[in-house]
Amino acid sequence: MKKIFLIIQREYLTRVRKRSFIIMTILGPLLMAATIVVPVYLATRTNETKSVAVLDDSGIFYQKFKDSDDIKFHYLESDIGSAKANFIKSGDHALLYIPKTEMALPTNALLYSEKSVSINVTSYIRNVMTKQVEDMKLQARLSELQTDKKDPVSVEEILRSIKTSVDINTMKIGENGQESKSYTEINMVLGMFAGILIYFFIFMFGSQVMRGVIEEKTSRIVEVIISSVKPFQLMMGKIIGVGLVGLTQFLLWVVLTFGIVTVVTTIMTTKGEKKSTTEQIIQQQKAINPAASKALTEQMGSSSEEMGGVMEAINSVNFPVMIGAFLFFFLVGYLMYAALFAAIGGAVDSEADTQQFMLPITIPLILSIIMAQYIIRDPDGPISFWFSIFPLTSPVVMMIRIPFGVPYLQVILSMVLLLLGFLGTTWLAGKIYRTGILMYGKKVSYKELWKWIRYK
C-alpha cells in the first residue's frame, strides 16, 4: 500500500508542477468566465432600448418601474390573454405580468419574452418589486407598532419580518403564441455542460494515462519499477494519480471561474439601485434605538447577494443529486476509461501505433455526444434509457439526463452497472498491461491481445 501511494504521489506531483498544467489552470477559468461574463456585459452595454410591457393585476407597482437608458416601461390595461396574444406583434422585449394576490403581497411575477431576457432586466425588475413589497410591509409594521405601544422590538426582528424574496419566472413565447417554461433550457445547458465536461475529461486525462504508460515503456524504466511493485499497482497508481490531477484542475477551475464571475458581475450590477429600504429603516430606527442602528448597518453591508436571474432558474434543479451524480459518473467513468487507455499504452510502442486500438474506446464516447441532441429532446425515451444504462456511454448520457429528473432506480441501476463495468475493464486492462509493458518492438494485433488476456 505504501508503494502505490509513492506511485500516486510521483504521478501527481510531476504533472501538477508542469508548466502546461499551471497555464491550463489559469487560462481555463479566464476563458470560461469570459464566456459567461461577456454576453452579460454586452447585453448591459447595448445601446438598444428595451421596452418592457407591464401588466400589473395587483396594482401596487403602477409607475414604480422607472425608465432608464436601456429599459423603458409602459403599462398595459388589458387582460393577460390578449396581452400575450399581442406580444409578438408589439415588438416589446418582454412582458411582465404580476398576478393579483388575495391575501398577501405579490411576490411572484412572470416574464414572457421571445428571446431570452437579459439579466439586468430581470434583476432590475426584482429589485423594484422587492423594494416596493418591503416598503409596504415596513409601513404596515411601523404603524402596527405605533398603535400597539408595546416593548420596543429589536431592529433585527423587524428586518426579518419584512424580508421578501421575489420570484420571477421567465417564460418563452413562440411565434404562434405557444409558451414553454424556459427552465428546460437551463436543464439542457446544465446537462450538456456536465456531459461534455465528463467527455472532455475522460479524453484529456485518459490519454494522459496512456501517454504516461507509453513514456515508461519507451524510456525503458518500466522493468525497473515492476521489479519492485506489481504491474497492477503501477497501473492503478498512475490512473489514480492522473485522476487526482484532473480533479485538482477541475476544482481549481470551478473555484476560479466562480470567483472571477462573482467579482465581475457584482461590479457590473451594483451600480446604484441598492440604496433601498434598509436605509429608510435605519433612519427611522435611529430615533428610537440609536445603539441598534450601528449593528444594523454592519449586518446590511454583508448581505449583498445578487447573482442575477440565472440563479433563480438554476434553483429549479436538484443540486445535491446533480453534484453527487456528477462526481460519481465523473470519477468512475474516468477510472473505467483510464484503465482501457492504460491497456492501450501498454500494448503499443509509440503514440503513432495507438490509432487502431483507440477506435473501440472513442466510438462509445463520441456516440454519447452525438446522441446528446436526441436525448435532450426526449430525456425519458427508450434510447435515452438504454444509453444511460450501458456502462461505456452512461457517464456522459446519464449526466445529460439527470437535470431533467431521472427515477432514482434508474440512476442506481446505471451506477451499479458502471461500477461493474469499471471492475471488468480494469481486470481486462490489467492483463493486457501486464504482458504489454514487457513487449518491445512488436506490432500487436487484436488476436495477440486476446492471447494476453488468457495468460495465467
Partner: protein
C-alpha cells in the same frame, strides 16, 4: 550454501516454451554467469526470479525458503532494457526508486548522498535525466540497483553502453559487492567478462540448461589435452617427428619462434610430447591450451543444435 536455486522451472507462452524444466543453483557470495544465445530464455528466467512473471511450474528457493512477494526488497535488478524518466530530476528519481524498494525517505536520502559523493556526481542531483549522457544515466541506474543493499543482485548485460574506463569501474564495484557478501547473477554475451568475473555458470539454450557448474570444472571437462609449443631450429614438417597419435592442429611462426598446437592422446602427458620433440627442436615454452568460455559456449550450443532435440 545456495542463496538462490530454481528447480525444474517451466514457462509456456502461447507459441513456444520459454523455459523447460530449468534448474540452477547460485551459491552465496559468488558471481553466477547466466549465459546463452539470444532468445534462449535467460530474460524469462530473470523475470521469474524478480517475480515480474510467474512460472507455470517449478520451485524457487531463496535464502533457504520459498521465494516470497516481499523478497523484491532483497533483490536488485538491472534489466537489459533499462532507462529512467527523462523529464525527472536525477535526485528525485533516485529517491523514488529507492523508496519503491522499501527504504524510508530518510534512509534513501542518506545512502544516495553517500553514493553520489563516492561517484563524484553530486552536481547531478538537480539535473534532469535528459541532460545526462547515456553513460551517466547508466551510472545512476547501477546506483539505484544497489542502493537498498540487496542480498541478490541481477545484472542483465550490465556493461552495454559503458566506455572502457567506466566498465572497469563497474567491474571493480561488482567484485567489491561480492566481497561484501552479495550474490550476483550476471547475464551477458561478453565472454571475456564472464571469464574474468564468474565463479559458476549456467548455459541456457533453447529453453534448457545445457551446461552448468563451476567455471573450473567446466573448463576441465572441455579441455582437449592440447598444448601450444614454441620452438625453433627446425623447419621441417612437425608431424613427421611425432608419433602418429599426436596431432598437429595448427602451425605458425613469428620473427623469433615457431608455434604449434598439438593435441595429445588421452593417456599422454606433456612429458611425452617434450620427449618426442627434444631430439629435433629447441623448446622455448610449452603451455596447456585451456578453452576460452567463448569456445565452450560455441561448442556447447552447436553440439546441442546438431543433436536432434528429444521431446520429453
Amino acid at each position: 550454501m545456495d542463496l538462490f536455486s530454481a528447480h525444474a522451472v517451466s514457462k509456456q507462452y502461447a507459441n513456444h516454451k520459454a523455459l523447460d524444466k530449468v534448474s540452477i543453483n547460485v551459491p552465496e557470495s559468488s558471481i553466477f554467469g547466466l549465459l546463452g544465445p539470444n532468445g534462449a530464455g535467460k530474460t524469462t528466467l530473470i523475470r521469474i526470479i524478480n517475480q515480474i512473471i510467474a512460472p507455470d511450474e517449478g520451485e524457487l528457493i531463496f535464502m533457504g525458503r520459498q521465494l516470497q512477494p516481499n523478497d523484491t526488497a532483497y533483490i536488485g535488478y538491472l534489466p537489459e532494457e533499462r532507462g529512467l524518466y527523462k523529464k525527472m530530476s536525477v535526485g528525485e528519481q533516485a529517491m523514488y526508486l529507492a523508496q519503491l524498494k522499501g527504504l524510508t525517505n530518510h534512509e534513501a536520502h542518506k545512502r544516495l548522498k553517500y553514493w553520489f559523493e563516492k561517484f563524484e556526481i553530486n552536481t547531478w542531483w538537480n539535473r534532469k535525466v535528459e541532460e545526462l549522457s547515456k553513460g551517466m544515466q547508466q551510472k545512476i541506474q547501477f546506483l539505484v540497483t544497489i542502493i537498498h543493499e540487496p542480498k541478490l543482485l541481477i545484472f542483465d548485460e550490465p556493461f552495454s553502453g559503458f566506455d572502457p574506463i567506466n566498465t572497469n569501474l563497474l567491474k571493480e564495484e561488482i567484485i567489491g559487492l561480492k566481497e561484501k557478501g552479495a550474490t550476483i547473477i550476471f547475464s551477458t554475451h561478453n565472454m571475456a567478462s564472464v571469464e574474468e568475473l564468474c565463479d559458476d555458470i549456467a548455459l541456457i539454450d533453447r529453453s534448457k540448461v545445457i551446461l552448468s557448474g563451476t567455471m573450473r570444472n567446466i573448463k576441465q571437462t572441455y579441455k582437449t589435452n592440447t598444448f601450444e609449443v614454441s620452438y625453433n631450429t627446425f623447419e621441417g614438417e612437425l608431424q613427421g617427428i611425432l608419433p602418429s597419435a599426436f596431432l598437429v592442429l595448427a602451425q605458425s611462426h613469428d620473427a623469433d619462434h615457431r608455434h604449434a598446437h598439438i593435441k595429445l592422446p588421452a593417456d599422454a602427458t606433456p612429458n611425452d610430447l617434450i620427449r618426442a620433440m627434444l631430439d629435433y627442436v629447441t623448446i622455448y615454452s610449452i603451455n596447456e591450451l585451456i578453452p576460452h568460455m567463448n569456445d565452450i559456449f560455441i561448442q556447447a550450443v552447436t553440439q546441442q543444435t546438431s543433436q536432434p532435440v528429444t521431446q520429453s
